[in-house]
Amino acid sequence: MGVWTYFRRNRLAIAGMGIVLLIFLMAAMCPLIVRYDPGDVRVDTKLIGPCGEHPLGTDHLGRDVLSRMLYGARISLSVGFVAVGISIAIGIFVGAIAGYYGRWIDAALMRFVDVMMCFPAFFLILTVIALLGPNIINVMIVIGITSWMGTARLVRAEFLSLKEREFVLATRSLGFTDRRIIFAHILPNALAPVIVSATLGVAGAILLEAGLSFLGFGVQPPSPSWGNILTEGRTYIFDAWWLTLFPGLAILITVLAFNLVGEGLRDALDPRLRGVRG
């Protein structure tokens, strides 16, 4: 009843959603907003502070920081969504199978989840990227396959309780196949917590990508991403503060906004989960 009504009452969540939409719009329409190409090197205008011509200044190669930030937003958001898409897909599949079939299948899959959770994800990702080579596709996939465990547990828990409901017994008495019962009947009833965890997951993935790019394992220059703008600006932190402040702020605000939306959704979709960390 009235998810939207409940969500609307949460002012922070609404603010978060506004920010997310704004970032989306700006990333989508960046060619219309900026006057400079993000790869446009002009040595004569290097390291200019924020001014009318360059609202966020220029970097050590004279490239417009605003332009690089907006194109970087595209990359950050794509990484966030694609990585979470992969992680949600794996999580739903594993959780649904484990929860529906139970017994040894459940035990085996959940122990596998436990094992996956034991790895320090960030270093695992660094290793894999070091082996496979850093490019944006690899980053998305690797973030995806190292972050599905939470979703799997959530989905499994939902399935455990839903499969005991009479409507599931009814679908069995109608002779439906397991696949239909799992994906067409139980899953739609288990999606609320998944949506919440996906929203929070986007924030996590963006942060992870920024971290990887900062260390040089993520998106490779000259392609802009918030992480590598930050790392390139690090050398000039005392002379050109705008090179580190703005990408840092962008990461902070985006991650915060996604978290606010996620927590708002959680409260609105499922009062039982209130106050539980995602």
Binding site: L169, T171, P188
Partner: protein, 319 residues
Amino acid sequence: MLLRVCGLKKFFPFTGGVFGKGGVVKAVDGTSFEIANGETFALVGESGSGKTTTGLLTLGLLSPTAGGVYFEGDNIFKLNASEMRERRRRMQMVFQDPYGSLNPRMTVGKMLREVLSFHHVVEPDFVRERINELLKVVGLDSSYVRRYPHEFSGGERQRIGIARAISLEPRLIVADEPVSALDVSIRGQILNLLRELQEKLGLAYLFIAHDLAVVRYVSRRVGVMYLGRIVEEADTEEMFARPLHPYTRALLDSIPVPDPEIRNKRTMPAGEAPEDYEECPGCRFYSRCPRAERKCKEVEPELVAVEDNHLVACHMASN
């Protein structure tokens, strides 16, 4: 015979925790009965007597510990998945809880459409027509197809559940306490609907209830279950007129009489069904029976015909 249930047993194992000892719950312990085409057989008993488990076993939704269910001559537990799916079309279920038995995220139309097209009951072009027809048969307006289950009352939901069950054109419907979750004022309507459908479609019912008064209205034949076994089986009127098993008598005496002048003589002894009855070899009703004798404690009575069509499992019944 449309349905023959033979010596059906279902034991649920349980573990006793760290210190306790495990064991089994004998939910169904040797139940047999038959249902002919177009006939109704009712199972009554208090909660925990195994009647719902029997219903689920009959449809093959649980696998039994022992025994068989012969539907149209074939033991359903010996069928493979696709044969079973084919059989499912002819045996359906109506559930007790009209609030829990419909998928809350599916509209009525989508629900029926899915059933009809999954089993190819009618040609795709006629699905919509068939849905309207089904809704009409169960007394619902065809404009309801766009609505979700939470927009209906309990009685209407039960009608939707019935429409779903008959959409596959079954021969047998297991109705597991189909009216016990409904308002008393609605019960009659649903029972009438079930009877009407039986006449129209030639359905056979396995009607599960805990209320003998309801059973009298729908069923020609009735079996009384106690702790997983049928203790008495007879035609309904015969059962009401001459109950032979002390447990049946107690059940009949517990039907409220709408007359304050008539004192209800309660023959039901205090207490509930014992949980550890398996410890003793005798009659499972021994501990609560007002007529129990020594023999009852030592030998378990068999279900035998004492008269035509009247079976009872009690040592004292023939005297």
